[in-house]
């Protein structure tokens, strides 16, 4: 059962942990203030804020991904917001 090696978290501690890790600097947080999409109509052609989610470590930057907002979508055939519509629910600790 016992873990034989020290556990290291490449991503989680840097992204979500306290700033008490001298080798890790948290730069980007979740963009939680964004509103949900309200339309999945094909042809949506908006501008969304666009922020990378990631962390700087002593060895370099680890990009976790992107979050929306003003991404310029030049293609008119992309719909977004068709998942995540079950507002008011979340997966939670008990599921």
């Amino acid at each position: 059962m016992k873990k034989s090696k020290a556990i290291s978290l490449v991503l989680v501690t840097g992204l979500l942990g306290c700033n008490n890790h001298p080798q890790q600097t948290r730069l980007y947080l979740r963009t939680d203030t964004l509103e949900n999409y309200t339309s999945t109509t094909p042809g949506y052609n908006g501008y969304y804020a666009f922020r990378p989610i990631g962390t700087y470590y002593w060895f370099g930057y680890v990009r976790q991904g992107y979050s929306s907002s003003e991404v310029h979508t030049s293609q008119t055939s992309i719909s977004r917001g068709g998942f995540g519509e079950s507002g008011g629910f979340h997966v939670s600790t008990s599921s």
Binding site: S8, N20, V62, I78, G82, E85, H90
Partner: protein, 378 residues
């Protein structure tokens, strides 16, 4: 199995936050280190053995449901059934699941339900309670190989994915879900898989080419989701799952819709009647006098009714139950001075991988339950 009360670590909040555990307290404490549970090695071995056996039985049950076309009993929409069958026949990658067991250290563990699609409390079980043990009593052991097994299984699954980025997604604005998802992404990164994160609301659909895309309009071929299928299939993009020209690999695979549905409990009882680790369960109440009525699909202990001697013992509110209910014989959770624990026993890949304990003040384990660490006595 015992419950021991202790004094929490000084400034434990800061300690767990340093691990990335930011949801330790809501209205009440969720992470609770004012107590811990002890197990003997024999008890842990039993939990491990039972978990492996239940997993094997569940796989047999999936095959049975597919072979006998029982999807209607699960209220699974018709359009997604071919996707489910294809994912099963193709042995689509799955990473994890959590059995909720009723166990008091004396009798046989009994299966309450299986969280097969979107099990959470993973980060707490794998990381937070492990570092608690290191601080509290490092020489002791814990039933917890989750972290190593997650990394190892991601490595194993790498060959079964498309040679492309593996996306991780969950809903916005819920720190619990984000932490669980980020933790799984972390493990995948350590398995040398190229990953990206995208919120599920940000996933796009290319209407010309018929595939899912990220925020750069790049195709999504592999994606882990912490978002239930029963929600996905009822949303605007749900139908797109079956017309996706890239046939993206979704993890967990859609065949997990069978196991995450409470209808699997009567099916298991039918397939393995009087199995020592199952409780009698039926689609109708029948002759049961002491029973728990559970919605086919529910979360956070919602819409549960507990009846003893045909009298209401406890119930919970919620918004579930539209699809129907099952009836499971009542097995009361053990009472440790007013604390009622449920053992969450994890499967990673095909193997038992550890436990996490959530306890509540009543017989229904709901969204106010507490996560309590454990250790193994030598």
């Amino acid at each position: 199995m015992e419950r021991i009360s202790i004094t929490p670590r000084n400034n434990w909040q800061h300690t767990v936050e340093a691990l990335g555990f930011g949801f330790h307290t809501a209205d009440v404490a969720y992470w609770d280190e004012s107590a811990y549970y002890t197990f003997s090695m024999q008890e842990i071995t039993k939990l491990e053995t039972v978990t492996a056996e239940l997993w094997d039985m569940c796989l047999q049950a999936v095959q049975y449901v597919i072979d006998h076309n029982l999807f209607d009993q699960f209220k699974i929409p018709q359009f997604i059934i071919p996707h489910i069958i294809e994912s099963w026949d193709n042995d689509a990658p799955a990473i994890y699941g959590r059995f909720d067991l009723c166990y008091d250290g004396v009798g046989e563990p009994k299966l309450l339900e299986f969280n097969a699609d979107t099990p959470t409390s993973l980060f707490e079980a794998a990381i937070v309670q492990w570092f608690w043990l290191k601080d509290f009593d490092e020489p002791k052991d814990q039933f917890n190989s989750l972290h190593e097994k997650l990394i190892a299984y991601w490595k194993y699954l790498k060959d079964y994915l498309y040679n492309d980025t593996l996306y991780f997604t969950c809903v916005k604005e819920v720190l619990e879900d984000f932490t669980t998802t980020a933790y799984l992404q972390d493990c995948a990164m350590q398995a040398d898989i190229t990953t990206e994160f995208i919120y599920i609301e940000d996933i796009g659909w290319d209407n010309d080419n018929h595939f899912f895309v990220d925020l750069n309009d790049q195709p999504i071929k592999n994606i882990f989701k912490l978002y239930p299928y029963e929600w996905m299939v009822n949303e605007s993009f749900g139908q797109n799952l079956i017309i996706d020209k890239l046939k993206a690999i979704w993890i967990e695979p859609s065949w997990k819709m069978i196991l995450s549905n409470k209808a699997i409990l009567p099916v298991l009882w039918q397939l393995f009647p009087y199995h020592k680790n199952l409780l009698p369960a039926y689609f109708t109440r029948g002759n049961l006098k002491d029973y728990v009525k559970k919605p086919l699909l529910s979360r956070e202990g919602a819409n549960i009714t507990i009846v003893e001697n045909e009298k209401l013992l406890a119930n919970s509110d919620g918004e579930y139950g539209e699809e129907g209910f099952i009836f499971q014989e009542l097995k009361k959770l053990p009472d440790f001075n007013g604390n009622f624990p449920v053992i969450g026993s994890w499967v990673v890949g095909q193997q038992p991988a550890g436990i996490g304990i959530r306890e509540s003040n009543g017989l229904i384990t709901d969204n106010l339950s507490r996560f309590v660490p454990h250790l193994i006595l030598p």
